[in-house]
Each structure stands twice: as C-alpha cells, then as structure tokens.
C-alpha cells in the first residue's frame, strides 16, 4: 500500500518534470497528431492512395480561394486545364466549391467499418491536390497519409519485437550468470556480427514475389528486429548484474520468490528508464531505414505508398527544381525524426534518477 502511493508520487513528479519541458511536450503533441492522422488516413484523405488522375500528373498544389468578386466567399478552387507537358492553367470561369464530409471511394475504417465518407473533397470533376500530384497523377496529400501508416507503425512493431527479446535474454543472462550467461552473450555476439545490409539484399532476392509489398517489408523489418535485440540485451544484462545483488532482490529471494517473478517484478523494472529512452531514440532510426530501403528499391514498392518510396521518386534535378512539392515526404521524415529525438531527450531528463524533483 505504502509502496504504491510512493510509486504514484514518483510518477506524478516525473510527469510534472516532463511537462515543464515545453519543447518535449510540443514534440509529443506533434507526434500524437501525426499518429492520429495515420490512423484516420482513409477518412482524412480525399482519395485512396492509388487513385490516379491520368491527365493531372505533376499538378502543382491546388490554390484554395476564400474570396471572389463579391468579397468573402465559401472556399472554392478553379478547374485547371493542361496547356503543355506538366503545365496547367486555371480556368477562372469554372469554380468548384470545397465540401466537407463528402462521399467518395469506399474504405474500411480500422479494418472493420465500411464507409465512404471523407473529411473533405470538391464538387465537380476537378480533383483537389492539397500538396500537388506525382508523376502518375496521384494526390500527394492522400499518399502521405497512407504512407505514414507504414513509416510510423512499422517502427513500433520492430521496437516491440527487439525490446521483448532483449529484455528476456538480458534478464536471464544477467540473473543466472555462469554458463547460461556465457551461451546467451556469445549468441548475441554472433547475431551482432551478421552484416545487415547483405542480409537485406539476400532477403530481397529470396522472398516470394506475389506477397504484397507491405507484407514483404514487414517481414524484412521483423527479421531485422530479430537481429537488433543483441546490442540492447548486452546493456540490460549489465544493468541486471548490478541490480541482482541489491538488498531488495536478495530479500525477495530469501522469502522464496520464484526466479521468474524476481526477474519480471523486481529486476527488469529498474531497466525501464533505459528501455523507454532507447525505444524513442530507435524509432526514428527505423523510419530513416525505411526511407533508405525504399530508396534502394528494397522497401515498400509501388503502388503502395511510404514516405521513403515517395521521396525516392524525386531523385532528379528537374523534378526537384520544377516540382518541389515532391520533396514534402522528406520534410515529414525530418519532422518526425526531430520530434522523436526531442521527445526522447525530454523523457531522459524526466526519468533521470539524479534529477531532483523540486516542484
């Protein structure tokens, strides 16, 4: 009882300390918004990720007008017409009003509810490209939202897998020591010495071609995560070694608690600070890895969207100078990675035991 109150107090102090770090809080809020957008992607996006408007490739971001000759008006856009290769001219005669909660392409919300409601859209036959369109005439805004699902969530899965294995392996190795420790640590060293880039190239060649690219990428990341536990397990083993001779552990053992309970209840919680920080710092590295792999053609393949493969389709001087909106995915990767790092920084300060929680 006393214990849990103390614990809560500690937690409250930590949260307070975190909340005083304005930068970290802002970073956290931005990330939450990004994740919400990813979850609600099919609703927020006006189009599905593969819908292509053939005649509107490399269309610049559509201008939304808020006023007309009679002053302020309901937001509307002008229809545009192609007047040359990737050159468009707006037709001032043809207005199309912006609409909210319109019906459009059908999707399954959260994979359960069927719906065809979209947050916004326009009436008429001119599509709205909030952030421009790509070389196939697909809406970049919609693809960014769908792409964020891959880029943001796969990192979570990878971290979850590698952290679970690392906790287990590090905990067992540190607690039992001796032969068990030796075997697990040597195994970790072997796993660490597998060259991951060549492992990836080999995987890309071996995996069957008729599975969807998102699933294929998921497999690749999972396998990488299985490889990624080793470094973390080493650190956790070290921490466990330091903790296992503390009085409270010895007390638990003297009472006769089972090893499993001691490891999970008494030893591993002391590593939680490290694990949380490590995870927040590792997530951006997976996001960057995704863009790198897509850049090399190993990641998510067309027509599926991810920030990495959207960015890799912009690798050309002409595209960068003439169609700069193709670089927006890079900007989003930058924002996400930066915010994760700021958040990680804030968390580390807040969870630091040396931090004096003076309110």
């Amino acid at each position: 009882m006393q214990n849990s109150i103390l614990k809560n107090e500690l937690l409250i102090k930590r949260i307070k300390s975190f909340r005083r770090n304005k930068i970290a809080v802002t970073a956290g809020i931005i990330l939450i918004i990004l994740y919400l957008l990813a979850i609600f992607a099919p609703f927020v996006a006006p189009y599905s990720s593969n819908q292509n408007f053939k005649q509107y490739f490399f269309h610049p971001p559509t201008k939304i007008h808020f006023s007309d000759e009679n002053g302020l008006s309901w937001p509307y856009i002008y229809q545009t017409k192609s007047i040359g290769w990737a050159e468009y001219k707006s037709n001032q005669q043809r207005k199309q009003p912006l609409k909210f909660l319109v019906t459009g392409s059908e999707y399954k919300f959260l994979g359960i509810f069927k719906s065809n409601l979209h947050l916004f859209g326009v009436q008429g036959n001119m599509p709205i490209f909030l952030l421009g369109s790509d070389n196939y005439g697909r809406d970049i805004f919609s693809r960014l939202l769908f792409g964020s699902r891959v880029s943001l969530f796969i990192a979570f899965v990878a971290i979850l897998i590698s952290t679970t294995i690392a906790l287990l392996m590090g905990g067992i190795a540190g607690y039992y020591g001796g032969l068990v420790d030796n075997i697990i640590m040597r195994l970790a060293e072997i796993v660490m010495s597998i060259p991951s880039f060549y492992l990836l190239l080999a995987l890309a060649a071996v995996l069957p071609l008729d599975i969807s690219s998102a699933f294929r990428f998921f497999l690749i990341v999972t396998i990488l995560a299985f490889q990624g536990w080793a470094g973390m397990a080493r650190v956790i083993r070290g921490m466990v070694l330091a903790v296992k001779n503390e009085d409270y552990v010895l007390a638990a053992r003297a009472i006769g608690a089972a090893d499993k309970k001691i490891i999970i209840k008494h030893i591993l919680p002391s590593t939680s600070t490290f694990v949380i920080i490590r995870a927040t710092v590792a997530i951006p590295s997976y996001i960057i890895m995704e863009s790198g792999l897509s850049f090399l053609g190993l990641g998510i393949q067309e027509p599926a969207a991810s920030w990495g493969n959207m960015l890799s389709s912009a690798q050309n001087i002409t595209k960068i100078t003439d169609f700069p909106w193709l670089l927006i995915p890079g900007f989003l990767i930058f924002i996400t990675v930066l915010n994760y790092n700021l958040l990680g920084d804030g968390l580390r300060d807040a969870l630091d035991p040396k931090n004096t929680y003076s309110v």
Partner: protein, 574 residues
C-alpha cells in the same frame, strides 16, 4: 659525349626514314566532305558513361570499350551512314556481289595510312579475318560471320583487292564487313606468339595503339578522362582537299551518372549531351541564354515490351496450369494489348518525349520498318470485349474470373535499375487492375530477371528492352523458334505454333534473298505476324534528344548516329 651524338644521329635517321616512307605513300582514293568548309583547331569535350576495359577492339565486349574505339580509332571496310542508315564504303572504295550472292569482292582505298605512317593494304584485312576466325580469340565478331556453322572463305586477290566466298547466298553478310580492321605490322608477331588476347590492355602506351580512324589515343586516366588527338594522316578530306578532321583534340570525361553529365553540360564544360525526356523542359528554357540548341532526333533504337511466358516447360505450371491457358489465348493477349495506354506512358514515363511502337523492328529503321502492322490503340472497352470473347467474366465488385471461376492474377516483373521501365510497368499494371485483374508488379535485379528469362522460365510476364539495329537478321537469336533469346518459349526443337514456323521460314528467306526489295517483303510479313499474334506487346520508345552547343558546326544529328557519327567533319567556331 660522342656516344650521345651518335644516338641523336641514329634517332634523326630513323625519323627521316619514317618520314620518307610516309611521303612515298600517296592517297589515291580519298573521300571528300560535302559539308561546308570548316575551321581547323579546337578541343571537343564530351562525356563517356564508363571506363574502357580494353583497347583491343576485337575482344572488347562492352560498349564502354567500343564507344571509345569504333569508328574513331579503328574503322571497318564498310560503315553505316548516320543519316540514311545505309551501308557505305569506308576503308573499301567499292564492293560487288556476284549474281548468285555468294562471292563478295571489295576494292580497297589505295594509299590509306595507319596512324604511324605504314600503308594499309589487303594484308591487314586478311590478317583481321585470320584473327576473327581464330578459335583462341574470344570475339563476338566470329559467331555472326558463320553461315551454317561455316566461316566464309577469304583471300587477297592483289594488294588492294580482297574476296569473300560464302557457302550460300546470305545477305546479312554485308553488315559483317563493318568489323574493324587491325594493323598487321603491329600485331602479327604478337598473335603468332599466342599473346593476342593480352595485347592492348588499358595500360598500353597510347602511342602503341595504331588505327586508321580520324583520332589517335593520347592519354587515358582511369576514372577521369580519355584524351584523343587528330590523326594527321587521315584519308578523309575537306572540300578544299585538306586533311580532316578539323578538331585538334577530343577530351572525353568519364561520368557514369546522368545528373553529373547534365551538370557538366550546364556549366559549359562539354559540347553536347543526350537529354532525358524528363529534363527536356528545363533544358528548353535555358537553350537561348546558354547558347545551345535542343535537337529532337526522333525515336531511338531501343524497344521495351511485355513478354508472356508461353513456355510449357515453365516449372510453376504444375501448380498453376491455367496461367498458360490464359496466356495462350489470343483474345487474352489482345485484351492486354488494348489496355496499353501509350499516350499516358509517353506523357508520364517519358515526359512527353516518346513515340508509340507497334512493330518488332526499331522505329528509326528506315529500311525495314513496316508502318502498317496491326495496332491496338488504348481502349478498355475493346479489352473487355476480347475478355468476354475468351469467356472471362466479372463479379459484382468488378473482379475478373476465367470460365473455371479462377481469379485472374499474375505477376509482372521488370528490372529495378531503370526508372522509366518501372514507370511503364506501373502504368500498365494500373490499367490491368482497372480491368479487374490482380497484378503483382515488382522490379527485381537485372541479372535475376535475365536468368528467369533465360533458364528458369518461371515468370508470368516480364517487361524488358532490347536494342535493335538496322539489319533485321541480327534478331535471329530472338525471333526464330530455336533462338536462345526467343523469350516467350526459347530453344524449341520444333516450332510450337504455325505462325512461329512461318517466322522461322521468313528469317531463312530473308537471309538468302539478295535484293533489299525482296528482303523487305519477308521482314514486313514477319512484323505483321508478331503484331497479329502478340507474343510480345510493345510499349513506347523514348525520343533521342540532344543538347548541342551552337559553336559546334556541321552536325547531322540522328537517333542512329547521335551527334558524333561524322566527327571528322565537325568543327568549332570561336
């Protein structure tokens, strides 16, 4: 001191002797340029995609080597004109073919000199063909010379005449006479010693490499540049009768990346550039202020197409035998052909700079292209009709099934190294999905793709490209049913279908006929069959676009020859 004077004396005598020898040879059959009189001097700067692997043109396999040598340092008896694509005399002055099409007699130009001053004669030609027929030398020139597995007989009639005797009438032989001729006086003893395959590697002293071409090698820095200088003994003359080429030096910067090449050109460091469609607009807007001109030379010789796997030996057929049934159905293939939206391919994959292709002969081939083959303009409605004719049907959600209720699903593969071809694949896949098919489209590594095509045979469909030439018989490894590259069903013992049998026959007839008119008739029918039966479906060809500085004169730019096919006539204005 005395010793040194003695050495100088000997050197002087040697130089004098060679000069004297050179003067004794007088060029009796020169060639005169019909272009305007140019100015002498100047340095042309261009780029090369890769390092040469050897300067021995006979054993060079890769274009990075032959691009340096062929036509610039070494020349053949005949060559193809860069504009008309017809064969023209080069080191030969003229040729004649006997009535029965078996005996080829070539008169050589008299008084042509190698770049070291030695005279070029029939002995050099005979020596070159000795080399080509030598089994110890790994050259790709040999196989194409064989007619029914026999190497043609060749002999020297006199110092300036050579004769070839073929086992049977074989028109494509003339094309083989464009093979580069090598100097006997430099290489004979090396060949006799058995060291020919090692000679003229990339470490060779540049002066050792002797050719008849307009340029000589001066310096090669691996990964950086190749410097070539004018051959003062060249046999082509300008309208005033003075020796060509006009250009004094030619520097070729090695740049493996298109972006680097573009930047070099934009900074004014090179004189011309092959521009990709996607960059067209950007270059067009800069042309005036940066003093260059964009030349659209029309479609190039490349062909990109989709191949159906019609091979009954496909190992995957055990699990999915119905796929071969679909692909063998001509209605199914036609439906897919109607779903090729070539206009969108041109605007989206080639930035508007392309041409639709319908025939297996490359679009710029002025001699053999058949313009009137069956065409399949984009029309999803017609595609649906063809599918209905083959008893396919759609369910309520628009998914396509065959008559045995199997969902239509197949893979399209292409290679990951080329962004344009990946775009083509995505455009095709997107329209096929609109037809209700489930398409798994993935780019894979080029070598992996080739091995699937060549010996694994386990693909469904592949999009890949081939580069064509002018001579249609060079496709004899692709189109006849026993061809190694007969991609939809390679190396057949007996042709699987009647139309494949007819193509085999047409290729035999086309090779035996001697008149171009007669040959055109056979190859026209071959093109009609492929367009009608659709074992492969053609996509679109990018146009060759060149950006050329305005001070480079006398150019005659074509998709076949590029900018520098007539480099001997080009000159630079100040």
């Amino acid at each position: 001191m005395k010793k040194r004077i003695f050495i100088y004396l000997i050197l002087f005598m040697l130089i004098f002797a060679t000069l004297a020898a050179a003067q004794n040879i007088s060029l009796q059959d020169p060639w005169y340029s019909k272009k305007e009189q140019g100015k002498y001097g100047g340095t042309l700067i261009s780029t090369l995609t890769g390092d040469p692997k050897t300067f021995n043109i006979l054993i060079a396999k890769e274009t990075s080597s032959t691009d340096v040598l062929a036509g610039y340092i070494f020349e053949g008896l005949l060559t193809r004109n860069g504009v008309t694509t017809e064969l023209e005399p080069e080191l030969a002055k003229e040729w004649s073919i006997s009535e029965d099409g078996k005996v080829y007699t070539l008169k050589l130009r008299r008084g042509v000199q190698w770049s070291d001053g030695v005279e070029f004669t029939a002995d050099d030609v005979i020596f070159t063909f000795d080399l080509i027929s030598d089994q110890q030398i790994p050259t790709s020139s040999r196989d194409v010379m064989l007619i029914d597995a026999e190497f043609p007989e060749y002999k020297k009639l006199d110092k300036y005449t050579v004769q070839f005797k073929l086992a049977k009438s074989f028109a494509p032989f003339l094309n083989n006479l464009t093979a580069p001729i090598l100097p006997k006086h430099k290489l004979y003893s090396i060949w006799q010693a058995g060291d020919f395959n090692k000679v003229w590697g990339i470490n060779t002293e540049p002066a050792e490499i002797v050719g008849t071409g307009p340029f000589k090698l001066k310096e090669y820095k691996p990964g950086e540049r190749i410097i070539m200088v004018k051959n003062n003994l060249y046999w082509r003359k300008d309208p005033a009768g003075k020796t060509l080429p006009y250009l004094e030096n030619w520097v070729r910067i090695i740049a493996d990346n298109q972006e680097t090449k573009s930047l070099l050109f934009e900074k004014g460091q090179t004189h011309f550039l092959a521009v990709r469609g996607i960059d067209y607009k950007r270059f067009a807007s800069k042309a005036d202020q940066n003093d260059f001109t964009l030349v659209n030379a029309g479609p190039n010789f490349g062909t990109d197409f989709l191949i159906f796997n019609l091979n009954p030996r496909n190992p995957k057929l055990k699990e999915q035998p119905w796929k071969l049934e679909w692909f063998n159905n001509i209605h199914f293939r036609k439906a897919i052909a109607y779903a090729f939206d070539k206009q969108t391919m041109i605007s989206q994959a080639m930035a508007g700079q392309g041409t639709p292709q319908w025939s297996p002969v490359s679009s710029p081939n002025k001699v053999y292209l058949n313009q009137d083959v069956k065409k399949y303009p984009f029309n999803l409605e017609k595609a649906r009709q063809e599918l209905k004719a083959a008893k396919f049907y759609w369910d309520d959600s628009g998914k396509l099934y065959d008559q045995n209720d199997r969902r239509v699903e197949f893979n399209i593969l292409t290679y990951a190294e080329n962004n344009t071809i990946i775009s083509l694949m995505n455009i095709i896949a997107s329209d096929l999905r609109n037809l209700g098919m489930k398409i798994n489209a993935s780019p894979i590594e080029f070598n992996k793709l080739v091995s699937k095509l060549d010996n694994e045979w386990d693909f469904d469909t592949i999009i890949i490209g081939l580069t064509g030439g002018v001579e249609p018989h060079s496709g004899s490894n692709v189109w006849p049913s026993n061809g190694h590259l007969h991609m939809w069903n390679p190396r057949q013992k007996n042709p699987a279908t009647e139309w494949e049998a007819r193509i085999d026959e047409l290729f035999r007839l086309g090779a035996a006929a001697t008149s171009i008119k007669q040959r055109q008739k056979y190859y026209d029918e071959f093109q009609e069959i492929i367009a009608e039966k659709l074992p492969v479906i053609y996509t679109v060809v990018p146009n060759s676009i060149y950006a050329v500085r305005n001070n480079l004169k006398n150019t005659d730019i074509t998709a076949y020859g590029g900018v520098i096919w007539n480099i001997y006539e080009l000159y630079l204005e100040d």
